[in-house]
């Protein structure tokens, strides 16, 4: 290190650091309001799908419900069990909260609206959002509750396992676009979005992202009927709301990632020709498609059993993700036309759907008994 750097004052923020700081503060505030809207929206959409009205009392059409909930949650007492480990219990919230917001640094909302453009932004998004399991384990272990510990273990196991098909699906994308920069991947799709050439990769991303978000039908770590809320069981007030805030921010991040990587982001169609307003509209519209899918799957599918979870990741998703990588390699090495990719990947996607459908529809050979005399289902957690 040179002498000039040592002589520099400790706090000497250049202008771009100030700009980055302000952008991060603004983004945190915007995301907090976006999450408040998302809770209201989720309750309304789910109510609609279940032929209910949802929140109606607070304000016209219940529009103030999210604000009322926020006031209630923030004002509620922040409790900690007497036997809980104070350090792990209190810091777990931040270990989940911080990675989710750091991931937003590399998200390009339009061509220019990005806090930090970096050449490896796709890898950055995946690596940073994969760190949240530490917080779940800290919360589960620190709460000193069996349900919380089981929930934390399940959460960590699920996050780590489903990260593999997610990253493998992204490797397929990186092979085709030959870039790890989300911006370059978006510009690559100026003619046709990548969902057309990589339908199998898209399906795998969609499934694995629901599992990474721990939303239904993959809400095994928080399933009320099994582990009574999992890691959240001992939390209340502001800390519980920070957990909820983080899970919704993660939902936005994965929806944005899917919109950028598979649906063409702010580029397709004609994004760069029209301008930033249209680009922002494209980003938000495609993001909303993913969010509606996440809400829809919540009301449509029953929860997986914990032993089905691992076999689904290892026996279905990962082999098919490797197949997608193999197909991409064939097309790249032998310079085949893109249409080959569409046909083969589409056929494999149909095969995967058929396989899952067959597994779901199969009728049990022996009638179900209350007490089973066969081997119990094996599972670690």
């Amino acid at each position: 290190m040179s002498i000039e750097l040592l002589a520099a004052p400790l706090i000497d923020l250049p202008q771009r650091w100030m700009a980055a700081l302000l952008a991060i503060i603004a983004l945190t505030l915007v995301m907090t309001f976006a999450v408040m809207f998302a809770t209201y929206y989720e309750r309304k959409v789910v109510a609609r799908m279940q032929q209910r009205l949802g929140p109606m009392r607070t304000g016209p059409y219940g529009i103030m419900q999210a604000f009322a909930d926020t006031v209630k949650l923030v004002a509620k007492e922040d409790l900690r069990p007497a036997t809980a480990d104070p350090v792990a219990f209190e810091l777990a919230v931040f270990a989940i909260f911080v990675p989710a917001f750091i991931a937003l640094v590399a998200v390009p909302f339009t061509e220019d609206w990005i806090i930090s453009p970096m050449p490896l932004s796709l890898l950055f998004l995946l690596a940073v959002s994969g760190l949240s399991f530490i917080g779940f384990l800290m919360a589960g272990w620190g709460s000193d509750s069996k349900y919380a510990l089981l929930g934390g273990m399940r959460a960590a196991a699920q996050l780590i396992s489903y990260e593999i098909p997610l990253i493998l699906a992204m490797i397929g994308i990186v092979m085709v676009t030959s870039s790890v920069n989300v911006g370059d991947i978006i510009i690559f799709q100026d003619k046709v979005p990548l969902i057309v050439w990589q339908p199998l990769g898209f399906l795998i991303f969609l499934t694995a992202s629901v599992a990474e978000l721990e939303r239904q039908p993959f809400d095994i770590p928080t399933g009320e009927s099994e582990v009574a809320g999992g890691v959240f069981i001992e939390y209340s007030g502001i800390r519980w709301s920070m957990f909820q805030l983080t899970s919704y921010v993660n939902m936005y991040v994965f929806a944005l990632l899917g919109a950028f990587v598979f649906l063409g982001g702010w580029e397709w169609p004609f994004g760069r020709d029209i301008g930033w307003g249209y680009q922002l509209f494209l980003t938000l519209a495609k993001m909303s498609l993913f969010i509606v899918f996440y809400l829809w799957s919540r009301t449509s599918f029953p929860r997986l059993r914990v032993d089905q979870l691992m076999s689904y990741a290892w026996k279905v998703l990962i082999p098919f993700a490797l197949l997608q990588i193999f197909l991409n390699g064939l097309v790249l090495v032998y310079d085949l036309p893109d249409i080959v990719l569409l046909i083969t990947s589409g056929a494999a996607a149909l095969a995967m759907v058929a396989l899952v459908y067959r597994a779901v529809r199969v009728t049990p050979r022996v009638p179900l008994k209350m007490v089973s005399n066969t081997m119990p289902a094996r599972s670690v957690v």
Partner: protein, 166 residues
């Protein structure tokens, strides 16, 4: 600014490493280890190897430490007892640790690093890929073969422990 960032990262790495050996609770030690490993990712960022930093987050921050935490939290490891170590043991530990540290420091100072001219050359992501999959493809494949054997071996051992026959 870079110097301040380096000081911060170095402090995280050193405090984390000290915490690993000094914490009484084994789970705390594992959490300190995670902090230390994440700090090493910061060192890689300062050396302009972003790819290595992100892989450090992904592999060491994620996959490796989750195994440690799982093993610790599921097996009820007892915390270390408050007990002063024997004087001879303390002396031996001091000698071994100090000797290792001195050895590493001399090694770092006396090695003539290739292409060391005092500046940091940023290495392109594509260059790393080319080196790994073209020039050093055979060692890479051997390493993955060894890992595959280890994986299959672990499955075999786990199946035998549960009393199942292959």
């Amino acid at each position: 600014m870079t110097q301040a960032f380096f000081d911060l990262v170095a402090a995280v790495v050193i405090v984390g490493a000290l915490g690993v050996v000094m914490a009484r609770s084994t789970v705390y030690a594992a959490l300190f280890l995670i902090a230390s490993l994440l700090g090493v990712a910061g060192v890689y960022v300062l050396l302009a190897t972003e790819f290595l930093a992100l892989v450090q987050l992904l592999i060491y921050g994620g996959a490796v430490t989750v195994l440690l935490l799982f093993a610790l939290m599921l097996t009820h490891v007892r915390d270390l007892r408050e007990r002063a170590p024997e004087p001879a043991q303390r002396l031996g530990a001091l000698l071994a640790g100090g000797g290792l540290l001195a050895g590493f420091i001399t090694m770092v100072y006396r090695t003539r690093w290739p292409r060391d001219n005092g500046t940091i050359t940023s290495i392109d992501f594509n260059t790393i890929g080319n080196a790994l999959f073209n020039r050093w493809a055979v060692p890479f494949e051997i390493a993955s073969g060894v890992l595959l054997v280890a994986l299959v071996g672990a499955v075999v051992i786990a199946m035998q422990e549960e009393g199942e026959h292959l």
